[in-house]
């Protein structure tokens, strides 16, 4: 009871500090400007982050000369102030080597000037090639996907600087807002005032530093001109806008993995050193991370008005939550310590991955495809299937952990190894208990909304393949084909099927009806991850053989 109170207290303290640190600083009212983009109304802050992500590959900008990171909302708005100077700045991210080579760019650089990219015939040729592909309705390979991004960068920047892309004013009788360039004169002049204030603010910041008196004054003026503009274009204000800015700034999911990591490290210390430190502290920190995880989720649900399991990023966050949850439950029952450790490590790993790769795992909130607009079924079917992946992920983490013991000393840690392989078995059982009904519920939904129960669609087929894989393992364990070592190996190997069903179908195969979740990129990292594990397994097997011989 005491520990529960403890952590509730700690959690509240944390949330308050977080709130005060991210809350409104001078000069940031611009973040709260409502804009219409991607089928919804969002704060300018989100719009700017997503735009900069597309152009620059990150949500903050670093000038080649300076070392300070500048926030997206200032950078993107300043494109409007001086478009001609921004094409002379290395702003546009190009990663594809083939494109760099074709355009005659330095292959070692990452960011390029607009003038070097878009002027000249070669860019036009690339776009022509892309259009030919589209005309023939052929699938785009990674090269053309990269060309597509380049095209996107070009048009986005052009439309942005022309004032058409930032839509700020609702129009009665139309569902499309007015862009900055199409504003009526009254609002236009207010927007001009806003831009002038922004220019002054940026100028002061550059000259006398962010904290100086003059900068603060300019910031205040900027804020009031933003407020004036907002009240001139619309009367309704939405709590969602400020909630979203808070969500963006607070970066809750980063705190989540920091807490999980902290908990994992303390747990490791207690475990290895056989320390007398109380396990309660681990539990409290884990719970704080876990609740933050849920808070972040709650924000996404509130902002998007739907369960957050509709793209790769969201499922990674959801699955890592599930893995931690299952590990907490199993840990409570078995008290092996290893289970919670594995769960926390899986949680840290996947949350870090989700945070690190926004180009592949897109964290922005996008509108739903029409067929998915049935929250009830979305929750039931997608969430049950993906939560089973969480259990398998946990089994994988446990398998890894157990194999580490094998590598260190199988004899000495016999007890732990036996415990871990039991936990692997349990985690797999949980996974199967969710996956099998989840697949069937998917069938029920498909039957209800497409008119067929099962259609050998790659996504559903791969879910079945995962199920068959784990069923083989469970049966093999049942008849004693798999001992402890075999179980650990199976936990690691079989998870590759999950990776394929979860990531591979959408990012590698890219076929079928579940096309709303398709994406691109990251395949080299996934392959490295898989290969590294294969090598590790081989190493563990060799070590095991030699250990057996010496006994």
């Amino acid at each position: 009871m005491k520990s529960v109170l403890n952590f509730v207290f700690l959690f509240l303290v944390f949330m308050t500090t977080l709130n005060s640190t991210v809350h409104a600083a001078t000069g940031d009212r611009l973040k709260y400007l409502p804009v219409q983009d991607g089928g919804r109304v969002k704060p300018f802050d989100s719009f700017a982050r997503e735009t900069l992500e597309l152009l620059y590959g990150r949500s903050t900008f670093k000038r080649p000369t300076g070392n300070q990171s500048e926030p997206a909302y200032l950078i993107v708005m300043s494109f409007l102030l001086s478009p001609e100077s921004w094409v002379e700045v290395p702003l546009f991210e190009v990663n594809n080597l083939e494109i760099k080579k074709y355009l005659g760019l330095n292959a070692e650089e990452k960011h390029f000037k607009g003038n070097d990219l878009f002027k000249g015939e070669k860019f036009a040729n690339l776009i022509q090639q892309l259009n030919d592909r589209r005309e023939a309705k052929e699938k785009l390979n990674p090269y053309f996907q990269a060309v597509q991004r380049l095209e996107n960068q070009f048009y986005t920047f052009r439309e942005l600087t022309a004032g058409r892309y930032i839509k700020v004013m609702p129009v009665e009788g139309s569902d499309s807002w007015l862009g900055v360039s199409a504003l009526p004169s009254a609002q236009q002049s207010l927007f001009v005032a806003l831009s002038q204030n922004l220019a002054r603010y940026l100028g002061e910041m550059g000259q006398s530093g962010a904290k100086s008196e003059a900068t603060l004054k300019a910031g205040k003026e900027l804020d009031s001109s933003v407020d004036q503009f907002i009240s001139s274009v619309q009367t309704v204000t939405s709590n969602k806008i400020s909630a979203e800015v808070f969500y963006n700034d607070a970066h809750l999911f980063r705190w989540v993995y920091i807490f999980y990591l902290l908990a994992a490290l303390i747990l490791l210390y207690i475990w290895i050193r056989n320390s007398s430190l109380n396990m309660n502290i681990v539990w409290v920190i884990t719970w704080i991370g876990f609740l933050l995880h849920m808070t972040g989720f709650a924000f996404r649900v509130y902002l998007a008005e739907r369960p957050p399991v509709t793209n790769m990023y969201e499922t990674v966050v959801w699955v890592s939550w599930g893995a931690v949850l299952f590990s907490m439950i199993l840990e409570k029952i078995y008290k092996y310590k290893s289970i919670l450790l594995a769960g926390l490590l899986v949680g840290v790993f996947s949350m870090v991955v989700a945070d690190m790769a926004p180009a592949i795992l897109d964290p922005s909130i996008q509108p739903l495809e029409a067929v998915l607009r049935s929250n009830y079924w979305l929750i039931i079917h997608v969430m049950t299937i993906t939560i089973s992946y969480a259990a398998f992920f946990l089994a994988f983490g446990l398998g890894d952990l157990g194999l580490v013991y094998y590598v260190i000393d199988a004899q000495k840690y016999r007890e732990q190894i036996k415990n871990i392989s039991t936990a692997v078995y349990r985690a797999m059982q949980i996974g199967v208990a969710f996956l099998a009904p989840g697949i069937i519920l998917g069938g029920v939904w498909a039957d209800y909304s497409w008119g067929r129960f099962w259609g050998w669609d790659p996504k559903e087929t791969w879910a079945l393949i995962v199920l068959l894989g784990y069923i083989i393992v469970l049966h093999a364990r049942l008849v004693n084909w798999l001992q402890n070592f075999g179980m650990l190996v199976a936990g690691v190997i079989t998870f590759n099927l999950v990776i394929m069903a979860w990531y591979g179908v959408n990012f590698v195969l890219g076929a079928g009806l579940h096309s709303y979740g398709f994406g691109a990129g990251g395949i080299e990292y996934v392959l490295i991850f898989t290969l590294a594990h294969v090598l590790f397994l081989a190493y563990a097997a060799v070590v095991r053989k030699t250990q057996e011989k010496t006994i």
Binding site: R373, G443, W450, I465
Partner: protein, 479 residues
């Protein structure tokens, strides 16, 4: 179970053991993994034909059912701790059986209904090859209609599909039958159209023209389906008709600017130009290939680039290794030594001195006992975008002959309509290529006698799985 005969006993043991079960599950896994790869490299149809509906799949499924059953029988008499595992096995068998019933006795097709029109023919996956014949070009009779699956049939010039057509031949006539062969099947064909001269006396005309002034330059082709059918196109502020007898019938739409083109002979066309709301043409005359007709509309000129009096559309086919969204199936037929391409869901017309034949390679159309009339179709987009948020149809079920309305109901995403044992799902919609506005609603139509078996199987299976999970095992390895 025990058998006295040693061989049978041995075989029984093998059947009930994991030595059989695990390889079966593993081969099922490998097979369907291959299926998903085929689908990603080709398409769903190819994967279905090569993998999911192949003999290999049926064999593995058969073995699986055999194994699942025999393992249950072996445990007889059952004890309570067997129940969950038996439920799971029965559930799986029911699911597989239900799927088989659906595939063999169910109907799964699409129905496309244009706005304010009705349709009662469901298009299904199976393909048919049909031949019609006529003497006079008006009344056709069906002389051949057969299900075909060219995908699996290895057709080549040396192994063609052969037909002997002798429609209308006198009994006892000694003249040889007309020779029709299908010599090639192209699963992934990129087809482009070209206009060629036809021998068909009722064939329509085709005109290719350019409309241009200092700002605009547009090339269009108008081709009539036959002599009596009008074809038209609207380009900005004027509408152009080919094959509409305005002298006899009057103007088609007096409220717009109109141009009427009509064939005269092999070289010459007749044209008349009308301003909107005027009864007399302000200009008329004859034109041929190369002629330029100036108009009063923003300095636009009409230049006749090509003209064929008796024209037909011919296909040029490029065989691709893989499908794209733009490919279709095509077969090449040879009639009396002359080759022609026939695309899926298209027709080809061939002639002898006396008889005309129409061949069609098409998805089978299954008639319903009623028809659907599309009252209304609505698409709503996400704000400020062209991304569809929801689309919904409002349909009226009408009796087939009398057009009498039976019921009116909405059909939308995730909200199907059930009627007379069929279920209608909102699948997608067709857009007009130029305006982007919806013109027809597409429904999936489905009658599934295996549905209840699958649902029953699902329930049994899920219960079993959850029960299994709670069941504590007594064996050493599994706690």
């Amino acid at each position: 179970m025990q058998f006295k005969n040693k061989t049978i006993q041995k075989f029984w043991r093998f059947s009930t053991s994991f030595q059989m079960g695990i390889p079966i599950i593993a081969s099922l896994m490998i097979l369907i993994i291959w299926g998903t790869i085929v689908e990603s490299q080709y398409d769903a149809k190819t994967a279905g034909k090569l993998v999911y509906q192949s003999w290999m799949m049926y064999t593995v499924m058969g073995l699986l059912i055999y194994n699942l059953t025999i393992v249950m029988v072996d445990r007889l008499p059952w004890k309570p701790n067997h129940y969950p595992f038996i439920l799971v096995h029965i559930g799986i068998i029911a699911l597989i059986y239900g799927g088989w019933v659906t595939q063999h006795y169910g109907l799964d097709g699409t129905l496309s209904v244009p706005i304010q029109k009705s349709n009662g023919m469901v298009m299904v996956q199976q393909t048919d090859f049909t031949i019609y014949a006529t003497f006079n070009g008006e009344k056709y009779s069906k002389i051949y209609d057969q299900e075909v699956d060219f995908f699996k049939q290895n057709i080549s010039e040396n192994k063609p599909v052969q037909f002997n057509l002798d429609y209308g031949a006198d009994p006892g006539s000694t003249s040889p039958p007309q020779d029709l062969k299908i010599i090639k099947y192209v699963p992934y064909a990129r087809a482009t159209q070209k206009i060629v001269k036809s021998q068909d006396p009722v064939a329509g005309s085709s005109v290719k023209f350019q409309l241009s002034n200092s700002n605009v330059q547009q090339i269009e082709t108008l081709t009539q389906q036959n002599k009596n059918k009008t074809t038209e196109t609207t380009l900005g502020l004027l509408t152009i008709y080919l094959g509409y007898n305005q002298k006899k019938l009057g103007r088609k739409n007096p409220h717009v600017n109109e141009v009427y083109l009509n064939a005269i002979d092999q070289q010459n066309l007749d044209y008349s130009l009308f301003n909107k709301n005027e009864t007399a043409p302000y200009k008329k005359g004859q034109a041929k290939i190369g002629s330029v007709v100036p108009t009063v509309w923003m300095g636009l000129e009409i230049r006749i680039m090509d003209y064929v009096q008796l024209a037909k559309q011919d296909w040029q086919v490029v065989e691709l290794g893989r499908p794209t969204a733009a490919t279709t199936e095509a077969i090449q037929i040879v009639f009396n030594g002359k080759p022609e391409w026939l695309l899926l869901n298209d027709t080809v017309k061939v002639f002898t001195d006396k008889v005309a034949y129409i061949m069609a390679y098409h998805n089978r159309q299954i008639p319903l006992d009623f028809k659907l009339y599309l009252d209304q179709f609505e698409v709503s987009n996400y704000q400020g975008t062209r991304k569809a948020k929801e689309y919904a149809s409002r349909v009226t079920v009408k009796s087939k002959d009398s057009d009498q309305a039976v019921t009116t109901q909405p059909i939308s995403m995730n909200e199907p309509m059930k009627y007379a044992g069929y279920t209608f799902y909102q699948a997608s919609f067709e857009k007009d290529e130029k305006t982007g506005l919806p013109v027809a609603s597409i429904f999936s139509v489905n009658r599934d006698p295996g549905r209840w078996i699958k649902y029953l199987g699902s329930i049994i299976f899920s219960l079993g799985i959850i029960w299994l999970f709670y069941q504590r095992r007594k064996r050493r390895t599994a706690i």
